[in-house]
Every structure is written in structure tokens, then in C-alpha cells.
Symmetry: C2
Subunit: 223 residues, 2 copies
């Protein structure tokens, strides 16, 4: 179990809590470990526990009957997922799987509810987190519906660039993973990357895309 109390302080929801309350949260939390590829949550399942990524990287995704996958969001260390079912008690809206070996803390819905009721600060943080998620999803809809694949791929590369600067964990997305993020097929991502390379925005070094010209990439994002 060994949930670390200090780690809990990094959960956005609980940043404002005192030592005593945090200890209470720790008592409610369970630690789980996953290997790359492990399924953490299945779409449609009930349960609705709040999950927090202590370390590693998690993808939230939907799968079609034909087997196509759409990633809704990548969850890096320090962030929560499955918030919605934890709050409204409904089924999981999407599946979750580990992209890297990951350590996840799990807090049951009932316990989370206790914490929210007891503390207005937690409630406020919940609202902020949900608002954030909504903005993120609106942006995703905009991308899927209003941009072509190359622009989406450019955006993904910029996001990765930023993420790898903030945390030097430096996870490398495969083309297959980018395809799932962009809602398209692997080959199409390959073409898009080549296009971006010809535009001089990136360089492909042994399969890895290296950002050469952030500005140009940003331009291509909306082209």
C-alpha cells in the first residue's frame, strides 16, 4: 500500500488540505502498479473511482467496434483521471491504459464525496479540474472537425515538445500512438510527418520527429 502522504499534496483536488486531512485521504487511497500496455479501466464499467497518476503515463481512449482507437487525452504524472464517474456515479466514459510503467492511486467514489462535502476548497478544485477538461475536449472536437490531419499532427508534436520540456521524462510517441491521438491511421501520420519535414518544420531522424522550427510548426497547425 505505502501511499505517500506528501504525494497526495500534489493532487490538484487536495492541494489546500492540511496535514490531518491528507492523512485521512491517504488512509482512503490504494496504490496500484501497471506495466506498459496494461488496461486500467474499461469503458462502460461501473465503479467510478478517482485515479491519480503518481508516476508514469496513462492514455484515456475510446475504441470503435472496428477496432479503431481514439485517444481523448494523455494523463501525465500529477494529474487525475476518471473524474466524471467518480463525481456522478455513472459508468466510465472511456477506457484507460498505461503507456509507461505507472503507479496510480485510487480513491473510491464514496470517499471522494466525503472529502468534497467536508471541504469547499476541494469542491472548488473539482470545478476547476472539470472546467479544464471541458476546454481540452472542446479543443479536441475543434481539431477533429475543423483541421486536417497534418495540422493535427503538427499540434501533437508541439504538445510533445512542450511536455518533454516541462518534464524531461521524454516519452517518445510512436506513429501508431500519434495516429490514435489524431484520430487517423498510422500511414497517414507518416505522410503528414513527411509533409512537415518538407515544409522545413521538423526533421525525421531514424523515425523520430525532431522539431526544428517551432514557429513554422505553429503556423502549420492552423493551415
Amino acid at each position: 500500500m505505502s501511499v505517500e502522504v506528501e504525494a497526495l499534496r500534489h493532487i490538484p483536488y487536495f492541494a489546500q488540505l492540511g496535514q490531518k486531512e491528507l492523512a485521512q485521504v491517504a488512509a482512503m487511497s490504494v496504490e496500484r502498479r501497471y506495466e506498459r500496455g496494461d488496461l486500467i479501466l474499461l469503458e462502460g464499467d461501473p465503479g467510478g473511482a478517482l485515479h491519480y497518476v503518481r508516476s508514469g503515463l496513462v492514455k484515456i481512449f475510446k475504441t470503435s467496434s472496428a477496432g479503431k482507437e481514439q485517444v481523448l487525452r494523455l494523463i501525465a504524472a500529477g494529474h487525475t483521471f476518471n473524474d466524471v464517474p467518480a463525481l456522478d456515479g455513472g459508468p466510465n466514459p472511456a477506457s484507460a491504459a498505461a503507456l509507461e510503467p505507472s503507479v496510480v492511486y485510487v480513491i473510491r467514489r464514496a470517499d471522494l464525496h466525503t472529502l468534497i462535502v467536508a471541504s469547499p476548497e476541494v469542491a472548488a478544485a473539482v470545478v476547476q479540474t472539470l472546467a479544464n477538461a471541458l476546454r481540452h475536449l472542446v479543443a479536441l472536437v475543434e481539431d477533429l472537425s475543423l483541421r486536417h490531419v497534418t495540422a493535427r499532427v503538427a499540434k501533437i508534436l508541439l504538445d510533445q515538445e512542450k511536455a518533454s520540456q516541462e518534464a524531461p521524462s521524454s516519452y517518445h510517441l510512436t506513429q501508431q500512438e500519434m495516429a490514435a491521438l489524431a484520430g487517423t491511421a498510422r500511414e497517414v501520420v507518416g505522410r503528414a510527418l513527411k509533409e512537415l519535414e518538407q515544409a522545413g518544420a521538423i526533421e525525421l531522424r531514424q523515425g523520430r520527429a525532431v522539431v526544428l522550427d517551432r514557429e513554422r510548426l505553429l503556423l502549420l497547425t492552423s493551415a
Copy 2:
């Protein structure tokens, strides 16, 4: 401005409030009237007031530089919109326009904040509403990315069917509007409707789609 106190009780956020608090809300609310086609909010603008549709129908949408429009959601009477900026203070994530002559109540961000802080019930309702919006958007992403146009159109028709039964306001969507909902072009919607007609699920009577076989339509939704 003749905001009706009783109407405010229908706002999900304020359903639990007492008469006194409702009067307070009424004092904070401003009524606005819009004609069909009027722009209510512009994407990117600051301001972030909460809007409540007293009567009429409002669309929330994004527009691309090329002029293509993607509707994120239709807001019927009795529901709020622009919640996210009202809660987090950021810019409007999308634009809003009236599809029918509409009466809208507007509550400023600061006032909403006062109400939330003063009442845990309001805070809880806010969380529920946001969770709901998130589920809706996840479904939209799924549709855009994992379904083809015909399935999306089938879904829109079912939604309309249901909406027109709940409230007999019976607004008729044009193909252009369905196209914006489905994230595609008007002609493509026309083709999809023809396809659904050939499948025996609907009938086209002078441009209007009439649902004949709900079951079949539901099937085509995931085909």
C-alpha cells in the same frame, strides 16, 4: 428587467434554493432577447457570464478559418450555457447564436461565484452540470472520430425525435444545421438521408425527415 423568479427555479444550479435566495438571484439576473440568427456570444471573448435559456433554442458552435461550422451542442429551454468561462474566468471556448427567437437570462461571473460560495447545493449542481457536459463532449468526439456520417446523421435524427417528444416545440433542423452538428457538408447530409430512407428507417416528405423505424435507425447509428 422582469426576470421571473419562478423561472429561476428551473435552472439546475438553483433548484434547491429557497425563496429568499432566488429573489437574490433574480436581482442579479438580466434578461436578453434574441431573434433567430442573432449572435449571443463570440468565441474568444472574455466576459464569462452564465447564460440560461428561458425559452427558445441556442446553438453552441466553433467556426474554422475556412468558414466551416461545428456545432458542439444545442441548448434547449431550461438549460444553461457558457458555464465554463463563468466558472474559470477564461475566454469563451465557443460562440453561441439563437436558432429560434429566444429569451436568455444572464448572470455575471462574480454573482455566480457568490452564490456558489454561499451554497454547497449550488456547488454540487455545478459539478453535476459539468460532468454532464463532459459526457456529452466525449460522445461527440466518439461520433466524429469513430463513426461515419450516416451513423451520425441517424443519431441526430433520433435525438431530434426524442427532443420533439419531450417538448412539443418541434423545431425543424435544416440539412445545413444537421451538417453543422455532424461536422460535415450539407450535400453529404442529403446523401446520408437518402441512404437512411433506402434502408427503410425514415421517409423524406417534402424535405422533412420522418422517422419510420426507430429500431432500425438505432442500428444504423452504430453501423
